[in-house]
């Protein structure tokens, strides 16, 4: 299974059906996420991804997989007796100050266009991802699984386009949901399940706009909403976001 397969699977689980391949949703998924910054390797000229956005324009880079080649370059040996201050050291080492992009370490594989990745598999266009798998267009995720367009996610699973989803599963367009499941367009939930357009709740289920529904009626209304979401995503590659809902605006 590759990252695109994982996206398709996540859409089936979260949205009730497929909406198309992952790449076409890049603009939608990256709208509220810190994305990798593209720089160029000083050794090979190849593009690479960097997670820190504010390196000086004149900073030099290599790709992390060019480390061996970098270390074959002659390194300045200081005359220790001539070292007077930091500036004299930096002067001697000037040519060696080259940063790395595409840093992928630990038990990681199938990582593309990403930086600062550790112990993660199948990661695409993301930064600062740790101990995760099947993550794309995301940042600052740890212990994530099938995560797309998310940030600040400790242990999210099957989560799309959300921020701060602590140990939550199956969600879409949420902000700050803690140990919640099956939440759509929600903000500030704790230990809730099956909520749509719901805000500031704890230990509740089958809510729509904070109003309680019977499970079967809730399921019908949820199916209707998800059909609308899928249709818009298929046609426009975008939907109104939780940000739009909270601000009272929509695209």
């Amino acid at each position: 299974m590759d990252i695109n397969d994982a996206w398709i699977g996540a859409c089936r689980v979260v949205l009730g059906g497929e909406v198309g391949g992952l790449e076409q949703f890049a603009p939608y998924l990256t709208k509220y996420i810190e994305s990798p910054v593209e720089r160029v390797s000083a050794l090979s000229g190849h593009a690479l991804s960097v997670s820190f956005p504010s390196y000086p324009a004149e900073a030099s880079f290599i790709s992390n997989d060019e480390m061996a080649r970098y270390n074959q370059m002659k390194k300045a040996r200081l005359d220790i007796n001539q070292v007077k201050d930091i500036d004299s050291v930096l002067e001697a080492l000037r040519e060696q100050i080259i940063y790395s992009g595409n840093i992928v370490i630990g038990n990681s594989r199938e990582v593309s266009e990403s930086d600062s990745i550790a112990n993660s598999q199948f990661v695409h266009r993301s930064v600062r991802i740790y101990d995760s798998k099947y993550v794309a267009y995301s940042s600052d995720v740890r212990y994530g699984d099938h995560v797309f367009g998310c940030d600040k996610g400790p242990a999210p699973k099957f989560m799309i386009s959300s921020t701060h989803t602590h140990k939550s599963v199956r969600g879409f367009e949420n902000i700050k949901i803690i140990m919640a499941s099956d939440a759509y367009y929600c903000a500030n939930l704790e230990e809730c399940q099956n909520c749509l357009f719901t805000f500031n709740q704890k230990s509740r289920r089958h809510l729509i706009s904070n109003c309680q529904f019977a499970p079967d009626e809730y399921a019908k209304l949820k199916a209707k909403l998800l059909e609308d979401v899928r249709s818009r995503l298929e046609q426009k590659k975008s939907v109104p976001s939780i940000v739009d809902i909270l601000r009272g605006s929509h695209e």
């Binding site: 930091i86 080259i98 902000i175 500030n188």
Partner: protein
């Protein structure tokens, strides 16, 4: 700021830089630079001020943000069942306007002596720190996790006695290190792994007593280290900031080279 955290700062500076600096308050601006910080946000209801993580979805909805207690009160509001049934993606923004104040604050687990922190789990004696879990004595940082005595760091996992370290894990007694793993006593280094007693090392592993990726006899290294730490401490004591950082080493050395060339 509590006395214990101030003492932790003093100890960390002594261990990392060779001697104490002044009160941590004098260095807040420097410590917070190069970290993803937070903004102080007024509640939309009470005007109470609290820290808000400077993350896009939070910032774009900040006019809807309230504190935690206010949010739970807001949660008592709801739409009538027929209005809820009629919600669509088209009309939700308008129809839900009265319900959509929310709190981004999180505090889980047992927390002690936190000041101006937000998104917190099981931490103690922390100050101006965002998105933290299981830490002690951290300040002016973003996403420390299972760390102690971390100041001015952005992503420091399982680290101790670190000042201005970034995207790193398992560091001990480090200063201006980015993308470091399992390192100790390292300064101004980037993308290093299993290194100890290193300065200005880049893209390397398993080095000891090294400057610029070249290893030296222990006594020679320690002599240079002492000299450079004294200079760093002197600059910090005088200016309460340090222009040099791991992220601009190349630029400053280039600038100095250009200045030298022009003088010649």
């Amino acid at each position: 700021m509590n006395k214990e955290l101030e003492e932790a700062w003093r100890q960390t500076c002594t261990i990392v830089l060779g001697g104490p600096l002044g009160p941590m308050g004098h260095y807040e601006g420097w410590l917070l630079s190069s970290t993803r910080a937070f903004v102080m946000q007024k509640s939309a209801i009470s005007q109470r001020v609290f820290p808000l993580g400077a993350f896009k979805r939070f910032l774009l909805t900040r006019e809807k943000v309230v504190d935690f207690d206010e949010a739970m009160k807001e949660g008592e509001k709801k739409l009538a069942p027929d209005e809820a049934r009629a919600l669509t993606l088209e009309n939700a923004g308008k129809k839900l306007a009265a319900l959509t104040h929310y709190s981004p604050e999180v505090m889980v687990g047992h927390n002690v002596e936190l000041e101006q922190c937000t998104m917190v789990a099981s931490s103690s004696h922390c100050y101006k720190t965002v998105y933290l879990a299981e830490n002690k004595f951290c300040a002016c940082s973003t996403w420390p996790r299972e760390s102690e005595y971390a100041f001015g760091c952005d992503i420091a996992f399982s680290s101790q006695f670190c000042i201005k370290c970034y995207n790193s894990s398992c560091l001990k007694r480090c200063f201006e290190v980015s993308n470091g793993v399992n390192c100790s006593d390292c300064y101004f280094s980037h993308n290093i792994e299993n290194c100890a007693e290193c300065m200005f090392c880049f893209n390397t592993k398993a080095k000891r007593y090294a400057i610029g990726n070249v290893e030296y006899p222990k006594e020679e290294y320690l002599r240079v280290k002492k000299l450079l730490l004294a200079e760093i401490s002197a600059r910090l004591e005088k200016d309460k900031t340090l222009a040099l950082s791991i992220y601009n080493l190349g630029r400053l050395s280039s600038a100095k080279a250009k200045e030298t060339h022009e003088k010649l």
